[in-house]
């Protein structure tokens, strides 16, 4: 003997419930009353509202009749058929590219796809569903899942990832999952063409659901800024992909300030290059077209102005060893005077010696704290010790001889090299710019003779130019191992409006760019880095294609598989149980026909 539905042994809890009810039933205190005649009447009056009164006479009878009819209905086990989904195994490939964020009737196309998937889910008949997100690298979200709730939850969790869809690779992946059961591959996208599925396999049928939306798009194709002849100029390419000539306002903003705006008229199907001749110097610029079209992901582009190999500007009486050292490293060094440095438009690194610290221009700097007065010089007697900093890598500072050191400048600095209590090399930031301070002058040392000196100069140059903090351009969701000076720190990523998006431990996980295009800030150890997430160029040309079916049998799309529903008996039995409880209560209260 075995039990066909041992699951229903859980109904034992019903018995436990009844026993509990029995234990907690009302305990009536027995009282001898002279006559219950009026109490009967009072109780009946209380229980019987007018419309129940009619039923009350034969209440038990009716309840039993209903219970019996329902039991009979449950036993005949009604089954009816509803529309199901074809195929023994279903593979859904979901396009989450940027174009799926385009609006159609105020809803993104991805919602349209999700809606279709949910409709399919409702009609599932114990079929296994595999969900693949067609990103740059296809990702399997669900593998042969038949739990409807889980499928629904997964569908709810799908969002636009702004990557370029890789339908071909996803279909390949899907085909590799095809088992010998009849497999139906559904592709939810916006622009899949028949040619994209040229080498399809025979034992699966394909159904492509292309969402419609984008008609007249104006796209910002590219945007760049460059410094040239002391001026910063920008170049923007705008394309009108619609069939009508459009005039769109074009704006460049930076740090919430509009720095350039112009109305641009673009003929249908044409590109236009907008030259922005003169821009104020900023870290980054945002180009924006207010096209008002349905696809807004391509209306915004960011460009970062950065000098990859900044010049070094020497200020004051800089020891010629520095200049020579830098020149051997191939770094251009320019001697400037105090006044001309203020008019400088390009960014660079300042190397200053013999000037007061508060006249340093607002740039990354190496500052040599040189004191003329011998009273402020301190003779060093204790050995020189360097910390394990990236500046001191391969420098071997402890072999250097330094006779006198200057008194340090007050401020919040980090000591890199010291001798006893005297800091020799310090780093920190001044007016938001990184600064390296040397508390001794080269005349008092033999350092330029050491091989560590040019290495230190190189390290300093790299460190200062890195502190300008541009991490680079990323694809949406791109992962990359980031090499920052201190690996044990965590990094927090903020979007342009200052909202914290995520925090990651750099020594444990890869840096992963956010999905939404735009400019972002990454903050690590008080340092601010910038990076930009760019839309894939292919995503700037949204297309619409019609839905179609491949390899499908000749049957009409409407002619779907039928799905039997036989859960009715369960609910009927539940109602019967409920009725039994009501009957019990009615009997207990003593209504009898």
């Amino acid at each position: 003997m075995y039990f066909a539905n041992p699951m229903f042994f859980i109904l034992v809890i019903l018995i436990a419930f009844v026993v509990l009810l029995y234990f907690f039933r009302k305990q009536y205190k027995a009282v001898i009353n002279s006559s219950n005649l009026l109490w009967y009447q009072a109780m009946n009056e209380w229980k019987a509202s007018p419309w129940i009164q009619k039923l009350q006479h034969n209440l038990l009878f009716w309840l039993q009749i209903i219970a019996l009819i329902l039991l009979m209905m449950a036993l005949v086990k009604p089954i009816w058929l509803s529309e199901g989904v074809k195929g023994g195994q279903l593979i859904w490939i979901v396009d989450t590219s940027a174009t799926m964020s385009a609006l159609n009737d105020d809803k993104p196309l991805i919602e349209q796809s999700k809606q279709q998937m949910k409709q399919l889910t409702d009609r599932l008949n114990d079929q296994e569903v595999t969900v693949i997100v067609a990103g740059t690298k296809p990702k399997i979200l669900l593998n042969r899942e038949s739990d409807i709730n889980l499928i629904q939850k997964t569908i709810d969790g799908i969002t636009v990832t702004y990557e370029h869809e890789n339908i071909e690779k996803s279909v390949k992946l899907a085909e590799s999952l095809v088992s010998n059961r009849a497999t139906h591959i559904h592709i939810f996208s916006d622009s899949v063409k028949k040619d994209d599925l040229s080498d399809r396999i025979e034992n699966a049928s394909y159904e492509i659901h292309n969402a419609h939306g984008i008609q007249d798009n104006v796209a910002l194709l590219s945007f760049g800024v460059a410094g040239k002849e002391n001026r910063i100029s920008g170049l923007v390419v705008i394309e009108n992909q619609g069939e009508k000539s459009r005039t769109v306002p074009f704006v460049i903003t930076s740090e919430n300030q509009t720095v350039f705006q112009q109305k641009v008229t673009i003929p249908a199907g044409k590109r236009m290059v907008v030259n922005v001749p003169d821009l104020p110097q900023r870290r980054f610029y945002q180009a924006l077209i207010k096209s008002g079209d349905k696809y807004s992901a391509d209306d915004e582009l960011t460009a970062v102005y950065s000098v990859l190999k900044p010049n070094v500007y020497a200020l004051g009486e800089v020891n010629p060893f520095f200049i020579k050292g830098l020149e051997t490293l191939g770094i251009k060094t320019v001697q400037m005077d105090q006044n001309s440095i203020l008019g400088l438009k390009e960014s660079g690194i300042i190397l200053a010696e013999g000037i007061p610290v508060d006249v340093l221009p607002n740039m990354p700097a190496i500052y040599i704290n040189k004191k003329q007065n011998s009273a402020e010089l301190i003779e060093l007697k204790e050995p020189i010790k360097g910390t394990d900093s990236s500046l001191m890598e391969y420098v071997d500072i402890d072999k250097t001889y330094i006779k006198y050191a200057s008194t340090p400048i007050t401020g919040n600095w980090e000591n890199i090299v010291d001798s006893g209590n005297h800091p020799l090399i310090q780093t920190g930031s001044m007016n938001g710019q990184p600064v390296i301070i040397l508390n001794f002058s080269l005349e008092n040392t033999d350092w330029p003779l050491q091989p560590g000196f040019p290495i230190f100069l190189y390290n300093s140059y790299q460190w200062l130019s890195n502190q300008t903090g541009f991490l680079g351009y990323f694809q949406p969701g791109e992962e990359k191992w980031l090499q920052l000076e201190d690996h044990n720190t965590s990094m927090e990523i903020f979007n342009a409006s200052g909202k914290s998006l995520s925090t990651l431990k750099l020594n444990k996980e890869n840096f992963k760019a956010p999905y939404k295009p735009g400019i972002y800030q990454a903050v690590s150890e008080g340092q601010v880095y910038y990076f930009s997430v760019l839309l894939d160029d292919r995503e700037k040309r949204p297309q619409s294609e019609a839905s179609f079916i491949l390899n499908g049998s000749k049957e009409n799309k409407k002619d779907l598989a039928l799905k039997p529903n036989d859960s009715m008996w369960f609910w009927l039995t539940c109602v019967v149980l409920l009725l039994l409880m009501v009957e019990w209560e009615v009997y207990r209260r003593g209504f009898r026909a």
């Binding site: 009302k26 205190k29 001898i32 002279s34 006559s35 219950n36 109490w39 009072a42 109780m43």
Partner: protein
């Protein structure tokens, strides 16, 4: 015996049971009758006819008219009064109620005896016990105290079931002392039987205080003292209100039933003042005078 009781009994001797019926019993009593007899109440004169008692000739009239007239007086006769006391379990459950019921029965019996009426006192129960049948003022106090001493008695059945077994013939006045807590149908059929006996009926309904204002609380299982049936009640304000409404409704129906049969209807409770009931309500309702 307290002086209080003495004064009560003294006041009671001055009361009489009022009847509207002119029917009288066979024996001499204290009530004027339609018949001619030997009381001091003058009735009329009538011409003498042979066979009449010569002693009744009014010689003063003969002196004036030279004709023989007989002077006639009204007779004074008794009536037969039966006091039925409901001795069913419902009356005995509450002590104060049972005591008050016995007091009322004793008082009415005492009044009947002191009015020279023939008294039958019958505790209505499944088995006969404690019946009293007396006439004459001399028995007044004895009967009064006998009734007060009436013991509690295991009784089966209801008042209406048992009463008709005890109905007497040649009875002019019946006093029913009961709580009337029975279905109106059975009370009505009892009334029909009593009314058929052509007698005057005074219906005294005695309710316990806790029957009008129950002092139960919480969940109680009420056990009927007579039928032993139970009803589970979770006492709350709405049920109490309902119950009191039912009591009022029941009493109202009982009163209209009495009026239909021409019975007097009096209602009292076990905590009401006995003297004011006797000397005010009973006289106002024309039961005593």
């Amino acid at each position: 015996m307290t002086s209080h009781l003495h004064s009560l009994l003294y006041r009671l001797t001055k009361l009489r049971l009022m009847t509207k019926t002119r029917r009288r019993g066979a024996h001499k009593g204290g009530r004027t009758a339609n018949k001619f007899g030997t009381s001091l109440e003058f009735s009329d004169f009538r011409l003498y006819q042979p066979g009449d008692d010569v002693r009744q000739i009014d010689w003063n009239i003969y002196g004036r008219t030279q004709k023989h007239y007989i002077k006639r007086f009204l007779d004074e006769q008794e009536i037969a009064v039966t006091v039925f006391l409901d001795a069913s379990a419902s009356m005995q459950t509450i002590d104060t109620k049972w005591n008050r019921a016995k007091e009322l029965a004793a008082i009415f019996s005492y009044i009947a005896l002191s009015g020279e009426d023939r008294l039958s006192f019958i505790p209505v129960s499944s088995r006969p016990y404690g019946k009293v049948s007396r006439k004459g003022q001399v028995y007044g106090k004895k009967v009064f105290f006998d009734i007060l001493q009436l013991p509690k008695h295991e009784a089966a059945g209801t008042f209406t079931e048992n009463l008709h077994k005890n109905l007497l013939k040649n009875n002019q006045l019946s006093i029913l002392i009961t709580d009337g807590l029975e279905p109106l149908d059975s009370i009505e059929s009892l009334f029909r039987i009593i009314a058929a006996a052509k007698q005057e009926v005074k219906f005294v309904q005695l309710l316990g205080k806790e029957e009008i204002e129950p002092n139960y609380s919480g969940d109680v299982k009420l056990i009927d003292s007579e039928s032993r049936e139970t009803v589970n009640v979770s006492i709350n304000d709405s049920i109490l209100g309902n119950y009191q409404k039912q009591v009022k409704e029941h009493n109202r129906k009982l009163e209209s039933l009495c009026r239909r049969f021409g019975f007097s209807y009096l209602v009292t409770t076990d905590d009401a003042d006995l003297q004011s009931f006797l000397f005010h309500e009973c006289t106002a309702k024309r039961m005593l005078y």
